[in-house]
């Protein structure tokens, strides 16, 4: 407590500068966590690489505005078991959409390698949770890709909602329309699912209108 001067607000002795700074930093922590509805800072187990992050943010930078009262989420595929076929992969995402929010926009970003032989016909399935040792899969979307590079494939947000599980599994089933890759012997990989060109989901969520409306009325 600095005995020299008096606090202009309460008339008590002012804090020493270091004590005031420590108090401000503590206040900042509380204010940020409260603003993000977190009880403590998140412990990141497997952060994306800087390069993957930079690429993803650069794609989304054009004109994307965080929805009012909502959030925009980028989720990188954490595991892909690219089977031996040309370009089928299983992508796994970990999402934790708060119950009071709902998902209204979803796009899957994929990087197609230059080895693309003509047009690629791509189907995207969602794998349901395991029930009685069986998993069901539902077709989410199908797209035709004719050029290599990054592609943003729109997914029906309704197809990604629901399920208590925080794990979302998407299976990519694709085949080149003119399949001459086998003519050259071993099928070549067409989708880049490693390291910095990992596929990622771009999601937009906002508070449930119904609940928000009810809260407003109350």
């Amino acid at each position: 407590q600095g005995a020299r001067s008096v606090c202009p607000s309460c008339g008590g002795p002012t804090l020493a500068p270091q004590a005031e700074r420590a108090l401000v930093l503590e206040l900042a922590k509380q204010q940020i966590l409260e603003g993000l509805h977190l009880t403590s800072r998140p412990r990141i187990t497997n952060p994306p690489t800087r390069a993957a992050l930079t690429r993803a943010l650069r794609r989304l930078q054009q004109g994307s505005v965080a929805p009012k009262n909502g959030e925009e989420v980028i989720s990188f595929a954490t595991t892909t078991d690219s089977s031996t076929s040309t370009c089928s992969s299983m992508l796994t995402f970990h999402l934790s959409t708060p119950r009071s929010h709902h998902l209204y926009h979803a796009r899957l970003w994929l990087h197609v390698l230059p080895t693309l032989p003509g047009t690629l016909y791509l189907k995207i399935f969602r794998w349901g949770p395991r029930r009685r040792h069986r998993r069901s899969r539902a077709l989410l979307a199908d797209h035709q890709i004719t050029t290599p590079g990054w592609h943003a494939l729109t997914l029906p947000s309704s197809g990604l909602r629901g399920e208590e599980s925080r794990v979302l599994r998407l299976q990519l089933d694709c085949r080149p329309l003119e399949d001459n890759s086998t003519a050259a012997g071993r099928p070549r990989r067409l989708l880049d699912t490693e390291a910095n060109q990992r596929p990622f989901l771009e999601l937009k969520i906002r508070p449930n209108e119904l609940r928000a409306g009810r809260a407003r009325r109350r």
Partner: protein, 114 residues
């Protein structure tokens, strides 16, 4: 609103810039690098009560004179935020996903007497 000088006794805005590096949080808050944690402090004598922090108009000047000459103060008045803006944050959540969100009313821009 005047920014507080060390000896300013009247209601003003006290500015503090907080760098997330100083909190040790730069590993999960990606953007921005820090933010203004401002707060309001100072006294609100009766003739300032209800003033928006700036002499908004002739009306508020006259109103202040009336209050200053009123022998019966109208209760206490506090130095409170009168304008705030949201803070846009880009951070990593517990799943390692990147989240972009606007936190409303995070930065105090102006203070005034209630």
């Amino acid at each position: 609103t005047p920014t507080c000088e060390p000896e300013t006794p009247l209601c003003c805005r006290r500015d503090h810039y907080v760098d997330f590096q100083e909190l040790g949080w730069r590993d999960w808050i990606l953007q921005p690098e820090g933010y203004q944690l401002n707060y309001c402090s100072g006294q609100c004598p009766s003739h300032l009560a209800g003033s928006p922090g700036i002499a908004a108009s002739f009306h508020s000047a006259v109103f202040s004179l009336l209050k200053a000459n009123n022998p019966w103060p109208l209760g206490t008045s506090c130095c409170v935020p009168t304008a705030r803006r949201p803070l846009s944050l880009l951070y990593l959540n517990r799943d390692g996903n990147v989240v972009k969100t606007d936190v409303p009313d995070m930065v105090v821009e102006a203070c005034g007497c209630s």
